[in-house]
């Protein structure tokens, strides 16, 4: 499982304040804590409050690169913000994200190719959020076809079925989970799959429990990557155990700490 730590996001008060005041220490500690907890990659998002994301995102990238060479997931809906981050990125990059809209694909896929990055593709378009599995698959196919035509390696594409809060879209949960499996059979080589996990529990009273059960079920569908809170220890234990049950790692009595040693 490719684990992307979600905590460097300006929407969290401590990070928003640190971005505003250019407080390196807060950002770097947050980066290191997530890596120590098992993150393979760090999401970097200035958050909605940032007035100058075009300079805030590169600042975050440079500050994080001082303490780690782990990949960074540059998170913005604005291509120019992502490119500003790419220009200063020395670490490997995941572009987070492109949608199925032609004008977004036309800009971000070439950018991903040029900078040799991985790319997250959201199965969403200007028409709105998909309402069922078929719509998700159609949007996924649009993204995969565009990547294949543009010469972007499909195995570097991470498709996100758009996880909705369980208390808002309970009827869609089954479709979302099944989409993860079906995305894999769109093409050969397969695209990879990813979820932004925390959204599933928005507004619920048992967020951690909902997160970890959804993740377990998604892993059973063949999920390749997740954007999540790696400091949630129970969540990480559930992730490790799910992969163990799928024979991704060799069992030993200390399998939880063994995974973290990797």
């Amino acid at each position: 499982m490719f684990i992307i730590g979600e905590l460097i996001n300006g929407m969290y008060n401590n990070i928003g304040k640190a971005i505003k005041e250019h407080d390196k220490a807060v950002i770097q500690k947050c980066a290191q804590d997530q890596i120590n907890a098992g993150a393979d990659c760090l999401d970097v998002n200035c958050g909605p409050a940032s007035k100058q994301p075009v300079s805030d995102l590169p600042w975050l990238v440079e500050v994080i690169q001082e303490v780690t060479d782990k990949p960074l997931s540059l998170d913005s809906s604005k291509p120019q913000v992502i490119e500003a981050g790419l220009k200063v990125a020395k670490n490997k990059v995941v572009i987070n994200s492109v949608t199925a809209d032609p004008e977004k694909l036309a800009v971000l896929v070439p950018l991903a190719k040029k900078y040799n990055t991985k790319l997250i593709g959201l199965t969403i378009s200007a028409k709105g959020i998909p309402q069922n599995k078929d719509q998700r698959l159609e949007l996924a196919a649009t993204i995969v076809a565009h990547c294949a035509d543009a010469g972007f390696p499909v195995e570097d594409l991470y498709l996100d079925p758009i996880v909705l809060p369980v208390n808002v879209a309970q009827a869609q949960m089954k479709d979302i989970l099944e989409s993860i499996h079906e995305f894999k059979i769109i093409s050969d080589p397969s695209p990879k799959t990813i979820v932004g996990l925390s959204n599933v529990s928005q507004g619920t009273k048992a967020r951690n429990l909902v997160n970890r059960i959804f993740l377990t079920m998604a892993i059973a569908q063949g999920l390749d990557a997740a954007i999540l809170d790696p400091l949630d220890n129970d969540l990480m234990d559930a992730l490790i155990t799910s992969e163990l049950i799928l024979n991704k790692n060799i069992y030993c009595d200390s399998f939880l700490s063994a995974y973290r040693k990797k």
Partner: protein, 313 residues
Amino acid sequence: MAAELMRETWSGEVSVVTIGAAKSEGGTRSAMVKIGGQKTLPFLFAEGAIPHKPVIALEIWDIAPLDWPEESTKPYGQSIKDPLAWAQMCVKEFKAQLLCVRLQGAHPDFGNKSAQQEAEFIKALLKKVDVPLIIKGCGDDEKDNQVLAVCAEAAKGERCLIGSAVQDNYKTLVAAVLADGHNIIAESPIDINIAKQLNILISDMGLPLERIVIDPTIGALGYGLEYAYSIMERARLAALSGDKTVASPFICFIGQEAWRAKEAKVGSADQGIMWEVVTACALIQAGGDILVMRHPKAVEKVNKYIEELFIPR
């Protein structure tokens, strides 16, 4: 259209373990032996680097072995009764790069030598021969804990490979190996889960994974060889996929297993030698890095086989 071969790319690699310390590093060995470092499955040269060849260690004991079949002791003549002469013969006459000395004489049933006597023996052995050493206990946990700790100290700085740590008895040996700068053999009973667990327990005590060699426990041809093979293969696949906790090189005690087979003791004089050769060659294909062997003729044949495998094609 010509068929294209599928090539695997791996993210992990086997750790490199160095045995023996030269003068420049505080030891007295004439050469070092490096094992491991593979970035692909055995001999798939086109897929990834295989920087170090499998290496054979000749096995000697600190006492004249009582239970070795006659054919396996014959090449050593009277020297087999004098461990130091035996060791020298292995190095001078049979060109051993590595010696594995088993301190069987410390066993309560085999003479019960004291830790001090064994330490003196190790010191004398280090003076007599200048190849790197593997030091193996007698198999009695309690006695090994006494003897190996003192022997590790006697060989301080020589970067030996010392064993064996097992799941129920590893702490004393790990502490000794840590203190005196050696490597350790982690032995598991043909069980991948225990092999992994033991590596974690050892590294939790502060000994880096890069100083561990796994003894997966092997069986000779006809005596469970394929079980050992599949365990080694599974560990290697996991290691190459990035699991550092099983990414240790393997040591295989070929001689002791092959010469236990009843087929090695009957038939023509060469049958035992061939049993040792075939067992060794199969386990080289499984990823064996150190092969501990007994008969010089078998060693010669297996060395030739290794050379042939490494001829660029």
